[in-house]
């Protein structure tokens, strides 16, 4: 018994070991051990489960401590009864180990527990932070929403170009976005001295409140481009009557620049003091603790700018619409005017056509019957009269045509009928036509055709005749007595320029010459200031002497137009009433080119005897020193219709020959006369090719030597004397066509 009692240092039991108590101890120890063993298991299990546990080492320690304690209590189970020494040793070892580990653990816990505690602190801190971030997030979301509102607002404002809609939309949207109680816009009046309440959000029809523009609060707002908080009691903010006591919400005012079209610039608001502004008032709801936040103020400023831009656009659009409407109106008016003008022109043309027709019918009767009369047996005097009637009728017919032409002349659509005609015969015919009238009035008419005036010219014969006749007719018409002189000559370049026609620049050339016709009368004259009026249509100078003269007044106007078409000029000179008058006109006519004319379409007065060709007006020069043969040859040429100039000597021949002589006949066989030398001299005299006359040699003998000699000196043909009419005719024809005859 001593071995168990002494080695276990147990309390000496006074009473005998109660079995019940022993049993309870035994069971408790068992359970303790069990618990002690299961705790680490649990710990291990759960730690293994959790990924993050920084104190594994502590856990191991703690696990060891628990396990050893459990072991101790377990071993206790054996010590209730007698036990061997081994058990005692095991027990002791277990206890020693346990003691060591517990102490180590206790020491370790000193470190660990503060750490564990601080984890808790951090957790608190993070929670707070999270709460704060949530709050801020909420704020940002609000702001973003506000930004969206701004964009939408801007879009709404800018989507319309109607002024009223813009402003109304602005107020509505702002009110919605910022949950405003009231939003109002004050516009400057036309005078610029007052602001008038123009638009409000809640009130339907704002009565025209006005405030003077120079209030300090208004100046304050206008001087800065930011939204400014103002007092709710200022005149601009008192928009509705205050019902009893309530706390009005904060008010903010911002300026809205009203831009003129001319200074509209997108990114640069010029800071001019003369700028006009409107005032926008925004009121937060009353009785709420809401305050204006910065982001809301920014929103308001942005909106104010956008509104300004939108208003400018609206103004521009209005302006352009107005301009377009104006243009449309003008277009309509112009169209109407054009149609009216066209109608008038058509009416005039119709009238002219009808009148034309009415006038032509009797004209045709006259012309037809006169022609028939011409075919019958008439005495020479009667024939002359009938011819004059016919000529006058033709002229009248032409005049009728020209009344219609006058309208064409004004359109510029009249064209001249160009052809070759006999210039001299025009004047002679005019003279014939005018002589009866002139002789009745006892006026003497003289015609002077200057030597170098070409017989033939290229131009509009009919209209030139008309012009001459008109001018001469006027001279006769307006003279009661005295004389009329008609002069026609070729105008030289230096005398073509006239101070009365400063813009008339005639340019002489090889193909054209300028015909100048002067008709001087000793009649009633015209005062110089009336002269320009004469050339306008339908005007007549109202002097007693002329009142009875009749006439439509078209004459000179038509003449002027014809003359202009012929690239010429017409004017009148008069020293005054009673001092007579000189009418002068210059026209451009073409020179007839012989090489173009192989046939002569004109043959005035062809006798029945003659054959096909005659050479009317062909200017020839005949040089023969034998009087008889000269006379005979001359007669021959005259018989063929030529205009012959005769000379007997070579010097005289050289002197007389001019560019108007188209053929020169030289007698080359007379002794003492060197026809060849003469031919050479003639060639040298005319350097311009088309002025050189064709030279024909008349000779008694035509042998080869003579022919060669002639050809050498440039003689175009050789004829043997005497020559018959037929021979001469064919010779001339061939010569003029081919320019050579051998």
């Amino acid at each position: 018994m001593a071995f168990t009692m002494e080695s276990c240092n147990c309390i000496d039991p006074q009473w005998p070991a109660d079995e019940l108590l022993m049993k309870y101890q035994y069971i408790s120890d068992f359970f303790i051990a069990l618990a002690y063993f299961s705790i680490p298991l649990e710990l291990i299990y759960f730690v293994k489960k959790s990924a993050v546990f920084p104190y594994r080492w502590v856990l191991v320690q703690f696990g060891a401590f628990i396990v050893l304690c459990g072991a101790t209590h377990l071993i206790n189970l054996w010590t209730f009864t007698t036990h061997s020494k081994t058990v005692a040793i095991v027990m002791t070892t277990a206890k020693v180990l346990t003691a060591a580990v517990s102490c180590a653990t206790a020491l370790m816990l000193v470190h660990i527990i503060p750490d564990l505690l601080s984890v808790k602190t951090r957790e608190m801190f993070l929670k707070n932070k999270a709460a704060e971030l949530d709050r801020e997030m909420g704020l940002i979301l609000t702001q973003e929403e506000t930004g969206r509102h701004v964009r939408m607002l801007t879009h709404e404002i800018r989507s319309t170009l109607d002024r009223h809609t813009i402003l109304k939309t602005t107020l509505v949207e702002l009110g919605r976005t910022l949950a405003l109680e009231e939003c109002a816009l004050w516009m400057p009046t036309r005078t610029g001295l007052e602001l008038q309440l123009s638009y409000t959000l809640r009130q339907q029809n704002p009565v025209g409140y006005t405030v003077p523009i120079h209030l300090p609060v208004i100046n304050q707002v206008f001087s800065s481009n930011h939204a400014v908080k103002i007092s709710p009691n200022s005149p601009v903010a008192r928009l509705r009557p205050l019902p009893g006591k309530y706390m009005p919400g904060e008010v903010v005012a911002v300026r809205v620049p009203l831009l003129h079209l001319s200074n509209f610039q997108i990114d640069d608001w010029p800071e001019l003091s003369t700028k006009r502004y409107a005032l926008m008032i925004l009121m937060l709801p009353s009785d709420s603790a809401r305050q204006w936040h910065d982001h809301e103020l920014d929103l308001v400023e942005v909106v104010a700018d956008q509104v300004a831009v939108a208003l400018s656009h609206a103004a521009i659009l209005e302006e352009s619409m107005r301009a377009r409407d104006l243009l449309m109106e003008q277009n309509v008016a112009l169209d109407l005017a054009r149609r009216e003008a066209e109608t008038a022109v058509r009416a005039r043309n119709d009238f002219l056509a009808v009148m034309n027709h009415e006038m032509r019918t009797p004209m045709h009767a006259i012309i037809a019957l006169s022609s028939l009369l011409q075919e019958t047996e008439l005495t020479p005097e009667q024939r002359l009269m009938v011819e004059t009637i016919l000529k006058s009728s033709y002229l009248l017919d032409t005049l009728i045509n020209d009344v219609l032409d006058l309208s064409k002349l004004e359109d510029g659509s009249l064209q001249l009928d160009i052809g070759t005609f006999n210039l001299h015969s025009i004047f002679k015919e005019v003279l014939n036509l005018i002589k009866p009238v002139a002789s009745v009035k006892k006026l003497s008419v003289t015609l002077n055709l200057v030597q170098d005036l070409p017989v033939y010219a290229v131009g509009d014969e009919k209209r030139l005749m008309q012009t001459v006749l008109n001018v001469v007719g006027n001279a006769v018409k307006f003279s009661k007595e005295g004389s009329i002189s008609i002069t026609a000559f070729v105008a030289k370049p230096d005398c073509l320029r006239d101070s009365r026609a400063p813009d008339f620049f005639p340019v002489p050339s090889d193909d054209h010459f300028y015909l100048r016709v002067q008709v001087k009368d000793s009649g009633s004259g015209i005062s110089p200031q009336d002269i320009p009026k004469l050339f306008t249509k339908f005007s007549q100078t109202q002097s007693l002497a002329t009142r009875n003269s009749g006439g439509s007044g078209l004459g000179l106007a038509i003449c002027k137009r014809f003359v202009n078409l012929m690239e010429g000029h017409i004017w009148l000179d008069s020293e005054g009433p009673g001092k007579g008058c000189t009418a002068i006109f210059i026209v451009k006519l073409g020179i007839r080119r012989l090489s173009n004319e192989s046939k002569f379409p004109f043959a005035p007065k062809v006798s029945a005897n003659h054959g096909l060709t005659n050479f009317p007006g062909l200017k020839v020069l005949l040089m023969d020193n034998n009087g008889v043969s000269r006379t005979v040859t001359r007669g021959l040429l005259v018989h063929l219709g030529c205009e012959v100039t005769t000379v007997g000597l070579s010097e005289e021949c050289l002197r007389v020959v001019s560019h108007e002589h188209q053929v020169v006949f030289l007698d080359v066989c007379a002794p003492g006369v060197d026809g060849y030398e003469l031919a050479v001299a003639i060639h040298e005299k005319f350097t311009v090719r088309h002025e050189k006359p064709l030279i024909v040699a008349l000779t008694g003998d035509t042998d080869e030597v003579t022919k060669e000699n002639c050809a050498r000196v440039g003689i175009n043909g050789v004829i043997m004397k005497p020559v018959s009419v037929d021979k001469m005719r064919s010779i001339l024809a061939e010569l003029l066509e081919h320019r050579v005859l051998y």
Binding site: N626, G627, V628, V632, L636, P722, S724, V725
Partner: protein, 151 residues
């Protein structure tokens, strides 16, 4: 009327005889053709001119051939003229003599020239008479109210 017709027939015959005898040639016809309403006296004018010219030339020729030393060039010139004018009016026989005359001038044959001068004088006076008679006849016809026959 009868008288006129007779005169006209006489004229025609006379002209025919002149042609036949060689006093006039084709050229005279040409002259007659050149006479028309605008030139009614053409033939008479030309012939008168011929007479004047011929008188002058014959005088010149006579003078020239009377010289001691005959200037044949001058003589030739005159003869040439005379030849030209006579051929122009169709005085055929005169023209023929002139041609011969010129040959003698070239040869400087005084005898020949003088002979020719005589001949040409003779022929000239002959044709002159004939033409004057012709013109007389024409005048008579016109005076009687007739018209000259067309040639």
């Amino acid at each position: 009327m009868d008288g006129v017709v007779q005169l006209q027939k006489q004229l025609v015959d006379y002209i025919a005889s002149l042609f036949h005898e060689g006093f006039l040639d084709e050229q005279f016809n040409q002259l007659q053709q050149l006479q028309d309403e605008s030139n009614p006296d053409f033939v008479v004018e030309v012939v008168s001119l011929f007479f004047e010219d011929s008188e002058r030339l014959l005088n010149e020729l006579a003078k020239a051939l009377e010289q001691k030393t005959i200037d044949f060039r001058k003589v030739d010139a005159h003869v040439h003229q005379f030849k030209g004018s006579s051929s122009s009016i169709g005085a055929h026989r005169v023209q023929k003599v002139c041609i011969a005359f010129r040959n003698y001038c070239e040869e400087q044959n005084v005898e020949g020239c003088l002979k020719c001068l005589q001949q040409v004088k003779h022929e000239y006076s002959l044709v002159r008479n004939k033409l004057e008679t012709l013109f007389q006849l024409e005048k008579q016809i016109i005076a009687a109210g007739g018209s000259l026959p067309a040639t």
